[in-house]
């Protein structure tokens, strides 16, 4: 029972934390609840389908089909999260102001809401299909049905609870700092997911490892412990990372951060009706 609960908890946790952060980052955007719910529902349905066709997927592309699917799902999430974060870097300030003044939800374009849906969808899809297969594995191996059901629901509830707690804790952050905190959270999360995608492409033999274990911190912080796992989900912590994972992490981090800064300045200077200075905004313009 406990083993079932723990494994389901870990899978649910991963999706729940991603959804909690994304819900935080989209605070103040109207109708986001509907789009996130639709993402969860669609993700759960698709997870069932992926589990059902697990054998077909597994044997596709000479037995690397699943790793390729995982990589594609992760990269889709990376693109959407990056896009959302870059968009928010321009709109966060305005959103924060409106939440503070009127407390009312802000209309956002369907692009933002679609990104929310896709991010939620990919998070639920990836973890959901594993949960379905795992529960089936337990059922097929003659486990106690009652214990399994109880364990499954306990794990699901505990995972959702941690997600809700994270979301609630985020709301304690003062509104003027709120979107820069969620921006950083999404930035690190996205870099971690990109590193995971690189790991799957390397697992499928499509990318070189560039050094299998560049360092080993498993003695200091094991990835099988709860803290190691939390950090793995949130910031992509890996105890024994390969070179390609570090490369993807670093490139993604720098690329998204740079685009966020550029977009943030562009939108801000447009709002201030000031000319855009290419170099720095502390230096006075030479004219």
């Amino acid at each position: 029972m406990l083993a079932t609960a723990l494994i389901v908890f870990r899978e649910v946790l991963e999706a729940a934390l991603v959804i909690a952060i994304v819900l935080g980052a989209s605070r103040g955007i109207s109708h986001r609840g509907w789009w996130v719910s639709a993402g969860i529902a669609l993700g759960a349905s698709a997870a069932g389908l992926v589990a059902l066709f697990a054998d077909v997927i597994a044997e596709a592309f000479s037995g690397t089909g699943q790793a390729l699917l995982d990589a594609a799902i992760l990269l889709t999430a990376v693109v959407m999260l990056a896009w959302h974060n870059i968009w928010m870097s321009g709109h966060g300030r305005k959103l924060a102001g409106e939440i503070k003044e009127v407390g009312a939800a802000v209309q956002a374009g369907t692009k933002t809401l679609t990104a929310l849906l896709v991010i939620t969808f990919t998070a639920v899809l990836r973890e959901g299909s594993e949960i379905v297969l795992f529960l089936w594995a337990i059922a097929a191996s003659g486990g106690h049905e009652f214990g399994m059901t109880l364990g499954g629901f306990t794990g699901l509830a505990a995972g959702i609870l941690v997600g809700v707690l994270l979301y609630r804790s985020l709301l304690f952050i003062p509104i003027r700092h709120f979107f820069s905190v969620t921006g950083w959270l999404i930035l690190l999360l996205t870099a971690g997911l990109a590193a995971q995608a690189a790991g799957f492409l390397n697992q499928a033999g499509l990318l070189p490892a560039l050094g299998s274990n560049l360092w080993d911190t498993s003695a200091i912080l094991s990835q099988s412990g709860i803290l190691g796992q939390l950090l793995h989900i949130l910031v992509g912590y890996t105890a024994r990372p390969s070179g390609i994972e570090i490369l993807f992490y670093g490139v993604m981090l720098v690329a998204i951060f740079t685009l966020m800064r550029i977009n943030g300045r562009r939108v801000h200077s447009m709002q201030q009706r000031q000319p855009l200075h290419d170099r720095t905004d502390t230096e006075p313009a030479n004219s």
């Binding site: 083993a3 494994i7 697990a54 054998d55 597994a58 044997e59 000479s62 037995g63 690397t64 699943q66 790793a67 390729l68 995982d70 990589a71 594609a72 799902i73 992760l74 990269l75 889709t76 693109v79 959407m80 896009w83 679609t114 594993e130 297969l133 795992f134 089936w136 594995a137 337990i138 097929a140 191996s141 790991g199 492409l201 390397n202 697992q203 499928a204 033999g205 499509l206 990318l207 070189p208 490892a209 299998s212 274990n213 498993s218 094991s222 990835q223 099988s224 890996t238 105890a239 024994r240 990372p241 390969s242 994972e245």
Partner: protein, 116 residues
């Protein structure tokens, strides 16, 4: 929605790189009666290995390793491929994430002529 296509294109571009397939060794790992056989898989150092995992049980399993950063579901009676390495000498734990009683190790011995 065109941004959906971006990951697929990325994957597509990487499949074209022929260097990824050069000089690999094939090794086999079997899951039978909910255990890994062999439980200790000895592999050479500094070599890329194509590991074929065959699940002879009806029950799906998930081959997972934090040490190797690998994770893959192996359906009942399924056969999957996982590339690992090139590895440094050492012991690398792996397990069945659907049944943690099933544990195993990849053992990479130091290369004799290097004397380490």
């Amino acid at each position: 929605m065109p941004s959906h296509l971006v990951p697929l294109l990325l994957v597509g571009a990487f499949t074209l790189s022929p260097a990824a397939f050069a000089d690999t060794l094939t090794a086999k790992l079997t899951i039978q009666n909910r255990r890994f056989t062999p439980q200790e898989l000895t592999l050479p150092a500094d070599t890329k290995v194509k590991l074929i995992i065959h699940n002879q049980d009806v029950i799906p399993a998930e081959f997972e390793s934090y040490d190797l950063s690998r994770e893959i579901v192996v359906p009942g009676h399924g056969r999957v491929t996982v590339y690992i390495g090139p590895l440094n000498p050492g012991r690398y734990n792996f397990f069945n994430d659907f049944n943690h009683a099933a544990q195993g190790w990849v053992v990479v011995a130091p290369t004799a002529d290097k004397g380490n």
